[in-house]
């Protein structure tokens, strides 16, 4: 990344090597994970719109995170079935 400083102690710590494809892949993965909406936000929207409820903000954040991670955990456990085989 040419935008990050490369000189000085901080620069060498943050950015020791040229930008490579793995870093690029990381950026893509993080961006696409953030670009898809979590369906759990629909629950919160529905509560507010149709049921006149105002869910607690902290609980709402934990709801979204836990539901996303739940799927991540299941998918991770199933990765030898869903990801690694070539067929």
């Amino acid at each position: 990344m040419s935008l990050l400083p490369r000189v000085g102690a901080i620069g060498r710590f943050l950015n020791p090597f040229p930008f490579n494809s793995k870093e690029h892949a990381f950026i893509v993965i993080m961006a696409s994970a953030a670009a898809t909406n979590a369906v759990s936000t629909e629950i919160l929207a529905a509560q507010k719109l149709y049921y006149n409820m105002d869910p607690n903000a902290g609980a709402a954040i934990f709801l979204v995170i836990s539901s996303q991670l739940l799927g991540f955990g299941i998918a991770g456990l199933l990765r030898s079935v869903l990801v690694q085989p070539t067929r």
Binding site: S21, V39, P55, A59, S66, S67, L82, T86
Partner: protein, 406 residues
């Protein structure tokens, strides 16, 4: 599994980071197409949105409902869009780009689309379930006072009591809600698709997915009784055993083999297990925290559904690129399990979202893992991102083979 959706982005990253002399032509094509689309997309998106869907038939006959129902469709719920032409790539590729979907998926989708036209036109013009009293396409609930000229949506607040549960007296006073005939047709065919998918997977892809329930095998269950199983941080397979197993397996992804060869360490299964367990507990807590009316056992059932669906529909998505909409079956099951709270599944937003969201969240996850795999990203970086930097220090980009195709 192929995960066709990842092919474009992986190819792009590959091309960007290879030797520039090798990829000059590819990059040139990319930048030309990129430039053209960058300028062109402004026109159908903002300046002239009519280009998103141009139908000669609709232009020729503008005051016919039949023509609008069959040929119209550039905006939502307008019509079936038969023989329309679109000049907006965003619109064309939004449901699955023809550039990367396998030909058999595209062919099957086209046949399904033609059957859908026949079914929907048959339901509506045959006036099945009084379809013509309601709009041609709609996902809303309607009142029984609707007729072919005036559609009145159902007022949900009249039939809910203070606990957001269904009030039987309210329903008796206001009549039962109606769905449009085409939406019922959609729900029925989707439910048929669910069982069809599971049967298809059993018949044709049994070997691919049987590892998904191998933990239920008696020998595996016996392991649960041994104390060594529970000391998960000790024992298990060593790095060398895992490496040998992966390298000797002919069905293993070649990219993964290379990563194992190069000494990348794998994320242990118990780490994913801990994530699953932790988020399960937190999710159960928030269920009561946000005042959802879903009981704890309903939560467990929806998670079991998520597990089942990820295995079958995730495998289907990975193999064919076709993503099945399992929302209707979730609604129906939820409505059946909790009949008092939600008489019609459409009202049960909590329930369907609960299982749906877990499923959707997870259908993205294997895709991300696969993307990481195809770009040779260290699998354990989810835990330690800094480790990756150390790895890229030691492992420069290894020469890659072409994409692993089945």
């Amino acid at each position: 599994m192929l995960w066709p959706i990842n092919i474009p982005i992986v190819t792009l990253i590959e091309t960007f980071h290879r030797d520039k002399r090798e990829t000059r032509f590819r990059l040139k094509v990319f930048w030309i197409v990129f430039g053209i689309l960058f300028v062109w997309e402004i026109i159908p998106e903002w300046i002239f949105p009519v280009l998103q869907g141009v139908s000669i038939f609709c232009l020729a006959k503008q005051n016919s409902l039949l023509f609008t129902n069959l040929f119209g469709g550039s905006s939502g719920n307008e019509g079936l869009g038969f023989l329309s032409v679109s000049f907006d790539w965003q619109y064309i590729a939004s449901l699955g780009s023809p550039m990367w979907l396998p030909l058999y998926t595209l062919t099957n989708s086209t046949i399904g689309y033609l059957l859908c036209i026949v079914l929907f036109m048959g339901i509506y013009y045959g006036n099945v379930w009084e379809s013509q009293n309601f709009p041609f396409l709609s996902q809303l609930l309607y009142d029984n006072s609707s007729n072919s000229t005036l559609f009145s949506p159902y007022n949900l607040s009249l039939i809910l009591n203070s606990d957001n549960e269904i009030d039987r007296a309210g329903i008796e006073a206001n009549g039962i809600p109606y769905l449009t005939g085409t939406y019922i047709g959609y729900l029925i065919t989707t439910n048929m698709g669910l069982t069809a998918t599971i049967v298809h997977m059993f018949l044709w892809n049994f070997d691919d997915i049987k590892a998904g329930w191998s933990f239920l095998h008696p020998t595996q269950l016996k392991k649960l009784l041994q104390p060594s199983f529970w000391i998960f941080w000790k024992g298990g397979k060593t790095q060398e055993e895992h490496k040998r197993e992966v390298l000797e397996n002919p069905d293993m992804d070649p990219h993964y083999k290379m990563m194992v060869q190069e000494g990348y360490s794998e994320v242990p299964n118990w780490w994913y297990g801990l994530v699953l367990l932790g988020s399960f507990v937190v999710g159960l807590g928030t269920l009561y925290g946000i005042g959802s009316t879903l009981p704890w056992w309903g939560y467990i059932i929806s998670n079991l559904f998520a597990l089942l669906f990820i295995l079958f529909f995730g495998a289907q998505y990975g193999l064919t690129g076709f993503q099945f909409n399992q929302q209707p079956i979730i609604q129906m099951v939820a409505g059946y399990i909790h009949p008092v709270r939600f008489i019609l599944p459409l009202i049960s937003r909590f329930h369907r979202c609960r299982a749906l969201e877990t499923y959707l969240g997870s259908s993205v996850a294997p895709q991300l893992i696969k993307r990481a795999l195809e770009t040779h990203t260290n699998p354990s970086t989810g835990q330690t991102l800094s480790k990756h930097v150390l790895h890229s220090l030691r492992l420069q980009w290894c020469p890659t083979r072409p994409m692993a195709l089945p």
